[in-house]
Amino acid sequence: MRLVAQAPLEIPDIAWSAIAPELVLFGVGILVLLLDTAGPNRLRSSALAFIVLAGGAGLIAWETGAFAGAPDAQVALPALVALGGLAQLGLTWVWQDRPRMLGALLTGLGFAATIGVVAWQWSVYAGGALLDGRPVLATDSLIADMVAIDGVALFTRLTVCAAGLITVLIGYSYAEERRIHRGEYYPLLLFAATGMTLLAASADLIMVFISIEILSLALYVLCGFAKRDLNSQESALKYFLLGAFSSALLLYGIALTYGVAGTTNIAEAGRAMALVAAPRALSLAAIGLLAVGFAFKTALVPFHMWTPDVYQGAPTPVTGFMAAATKAAAFAAFLRVFAGGLGALQWSWVPVLWILAAVTMLVGAVLAVVQTDLKRMLGYSAIAHAGYLLIGVIAVSRAGISSTLFYLLVYALMSVGAFGVLALLERRSRKAMTIADLRGLGKRYPVPAGMLSLFLLSLAGVPGTGGFMAKFGIFRAGVQAGQTELVVVAVVSSVIAAFFYIRVIVAMFMEDEPAEAAGLPLPTDAGANVGLAAAAAGVVVLGVLPGGLVELARQAATLAL
């Protein structure tokens, strides 16, 4: 027996700039973890980190020839890295006795820096290509075709980081008061975000799987972070078990895909499976398993069972982050694999996802109506919204992709905002909130109650809020793709959903009998105020003047179709 001659291992050319956002997020995560574990030696660790970063900056400068009179752009990068190192050193020096504040600041800076890096990537890639005579983001596969740089990846990274930034702001005092503000909180948040942004940029099914594992593992821990709370434990365990189950299904799908196509690259696999010679039954099985795997992650009915329990039990800011960012990342991958890679095979999966979307929209909305716990209700509402988003995938068009991306950003703002207000209220009464607990809130605290109303009206899709524009974009893409019937189902679901959203507003503003806790003072905290104000401003601006972002989303919709 002769062994197949092994090809020499080829080390791919690693384009670090392609994964720069992940590097920043991951690096900051490690740094925060390091500073937390260092204890009294915090300053010394920070100095070490500074030396590493400054050295790295020097290395980049040398590599890119910045010392030899290279263009400004190449000087800027090492300068920024060095500046980042200096900033963390300074922050550590000032806040060395308050590790949580330090962690929160560094995490916030990390998210902000990542947004900056993505903006830089965008500026590099924008205008590089034209479609119908108008600029779009060019698509580029890098690092042995594992990572894609394109609009879907960049836009989703922005969404994830925006959600992360607001989560840090609203979560600080919440975690402090629930005494779950342990050192791992921020690193886990950053690692989860790393997995999410990587998922959005995965050009290969193996990368998809790895990213899902990165983000899931971090989220499992975050869900169970309030370890004295049984609900939180239940949440973590359920999420872990069902997450593992869905990962296994996804992996089966990937294996079958490899069996049919001989590759795990999404675009190539799609092409290979679309060939007439491809074994049809095996292809369909592979597509089916992939669809089920994604359906679990995006909480489509009937694979949604975990969602309400997990949403209810997890610490509220974590729930908001999960709802917003995980959805964005998972749908980005959904788009890339189905609308992108398997676009040629849409006859096989569109009917199936059509039914899933219709059932998801209706079941999510109907079950939300009977909930009394607010987080649970928002969990079911998240399921219904996953159904609306699926319309954008089913449209298999550029309009579908751009409207899905836009929807995900708006959804991130409104759901993080809604959970943020809930976190504020939970801190006040130190228990989970039911609709009845909100009675009379509007009379005493019109501003937070008004904000929650704004987020809920936006979730319902009332004009003047970003939620309407997002829904309009999805409906428009759906009708354009000839899926008018599905859009009508979405309309029915929206009306049912409007009922439970406005029921909350009724409780806050229109009930005579105030709840028992109505007299308690509402905690004031600058971080949460800034975060909520930012989310609310985003929702209003995107509702009134969405033109700029709609244009960005159009530029971003550049999957091979």
């Binding site: 409906f475 428009r476 309309v491 009306v495 009922f499 406005i502 033109g547 709609v550």
Partner: protein, 506 residues
């Protein structure tokens, strides 16, 4: 002042005053209501300017303004005014300051109350001026939120139920219309959502029927047309007085406006085909509304049901497909706004003093409060279409025009006029005649402020009744054009069937 964006200003002034109110401390009620009144007064002045700048006798849109909004989706910010919208904008800008004056002493959470009223005014004016269908839809649904708050927060005992019902009914109708708008956009080649670009979109018969149905549901709920009228009595009864006034005077007109603005021009074939069915619904509305009104014990509910009857006339006028009837239907919308608005105001003044709306608890009000009694009688006469007052000049052309195209509908609806006299005069007799008994003893006569609120309405009721020509001059060209288009389609269809008959005969 060439180039001054008058239409934008009409929307912006109330919107800005709503925003300003949000920044006034809640305890400064005087500043809050002064801001609101100033905003609505300026808006009214602007609308008078609009009346002056408007060229009577032209059919098309005037003073149009356009700005790009979301070019990527084919949406633009386009405004324009024609005879139809001019009348309704003027009605809105007139009713608003009067409502604010009527609610001058409102104390419960005044900040939100006045801000909601001003936001409502901005949305209503925007709705009548919008010439982009998505912009129209945005105003159509945006108006929902302040009205929902007005009913739900400041309404009566069953306000939560009424508010949710109102919200869901309108939201449902609106969303179907939204899908229809998007469908129409793509059927028309995805040019833009501008009003003119969606005219004459080539549609198959089935498509036209479905889209017609989607638009029709949205506006029929607004009218409200039997059998989707059930939200109205609840909303009216529970809403605070100003809420009822605005609801009746302006918001119900959105239905009639939508019929004439969108349904007839966009779907002429479906209109011709389904028109008779809608006429039946209109007639049912007229008779059913009148009969149910007669049975009411609550005077406010009585007026609410009388709205169902009056707006049945509007529907008959719009779908009779006759220019006289259609112009009458626009005038009827204005008249109903004036007289029903006035009736709700009067009932509100009474309720503030006596805290009851039960007809049976009153007697001899005319003696207890003679000015109030006189105004009530005058307004009731206007509402029941006494010749010489405004109600007559709207209802009579509707009956006259409908008699040309659908005589049965005109005959049946004429009974509605008689019934209106019956229920209003009967209620008047029970409440205002006889000895001063029951709640009437607590009744005091109207104050100067309240008389000032009523005076412009009374003057207009009389003015339109005696000399309606200026109103008709502005409304007629627009309406004639709309009806002429539909009639062309009908004639074309008749010619085609005629040809087919001939061919079969050969």
């Amino acid at each position: 002042m060439e180039g001054f964006p008058l239409l934008t200003a009409l929307i912006a002034v109330p919107a800005v005053s709503a925003l300003l109110i949000a920044f006034v401390p809640a305890e400064r009620r005087d500043v809050i209501r002064a801001t609101a009144l100033a905003g609505s007064a300026i808006t009214f002045a602007l609308s008078l300017w609009l009346l002056g700048a408007f060229t009577a006798g032209e059919a098309g849109f005037q003073l149009t303004e356009a700005l790009p909004w979301i070019p990527e989706w084919g949406i633009a910010y386009t405004l324009g005014v024609d005879g139809l919208s001019l009348a309704l904008v003027l009605l809105t800008t007139l009713i608003m300051p009067l409502s604010l004056l009527a609610a001058w002493e409102h104390a419960d959470r005044a900040k939100g109350f006045f801000a909601a009223l001003m936001a409502l005014e901005a949305a209503l004016i925007g709705l009548f001026l919008a010439l982009d269908l998505i912009l129209f839809y945005v105003f159509f649904e945006a108006m929902l939120v302040p009205m929902y708050a007005l009913i739900g927060i400041w309404g009566g005992a069953a306000r939560r139920y009424a508010a949710i019902k109102f919200f869901l009914y309108t939201f449902l109708g609106g969303l179907f219309m939204l899908v229809a708008i998007i469908y129409l956009y793509f059927a028309g080649g995805a040019v833009s959502f501008a009003y003119a670009d969606l005219l004459a979109v080539p549609l198959t018969g089935a498509e036209e029927m479905l889209l017609f149905a989607a638009f029709f549901i949205a506006f029929a709920i607004k009218v409200p047309l039997f059998p989707v009228h059930t939200w109205l009595p609840d909303a009216h009864t529970e809403a605070p007085t100003v809420g009822s006034v605005i609801l009746a005077a302006v918001m119900l007109k959105i239905g009639g406006y939508g019929f004439l603005r969108f349904l007839l021009p966009y779907f002429p074939n479906a209109t011709i085909e389904i028109g008779p069915v809608i006429l039946v619904l209109g007639v049912i509305g007229v008779l059913y509304g009148a009969l149910v009104a007669m049975m009411q014990r609550d005077i406010k509910r009585l007026v609410a049901y009388s709205s169902v009857a009056h707006l049945g006339f509007v529907v008959i006028g719009a779908f009779a497909l006759d220019a006289t009837a259609a112009a009458g239907s626009v005038v009827q919308m204005i008249n109903h706004g004036l007289s029903t608005g006035a009736l709700f105001l009067l009932i509100g003044f009474m309720y503030e003093r006596t805290h009851s709306r039960e007809i049976a608890e009153y007697s001899g009000l005319a003696k207890a409060a003679p000015i109030f009694g006189g105004l009530f009688l005058f307004t009731a006469m206007s509402s029941l279409a006494l010749p010489g007052l405004n109600g007559f000049v709207g209802e009579f052309p509707i009956l006259l025009g409908a008699y040309q195209t659908a005589p049965w509908a005109a005959v049946a609806a004429a009974f509605g006029v008689i019934l209106a006299a019956l229920y209003l005069l009967w209620a008047y007799q029970r409440m205002f005649h006889g000895p001063v008994e029951g709640r009437s003893a607590q009744m005091t006569d109207l104050t100067g402020r309240e008389i000032a609120v009523m005076a412009p309405l009374v003057a207009l009721m009389l003015g339109i009744g005696l000399y309606p020509a200026p109103l008709y001059e502005r409304v007629n060209p627009t309406v004639e054009q709309i009806i002429a288009e539909v009639q062309d389609h009908r004639d074309a269809a008749a010619v085609q069937t005629g040809h087919a008959d001939e061919q079969e005969g050969q």
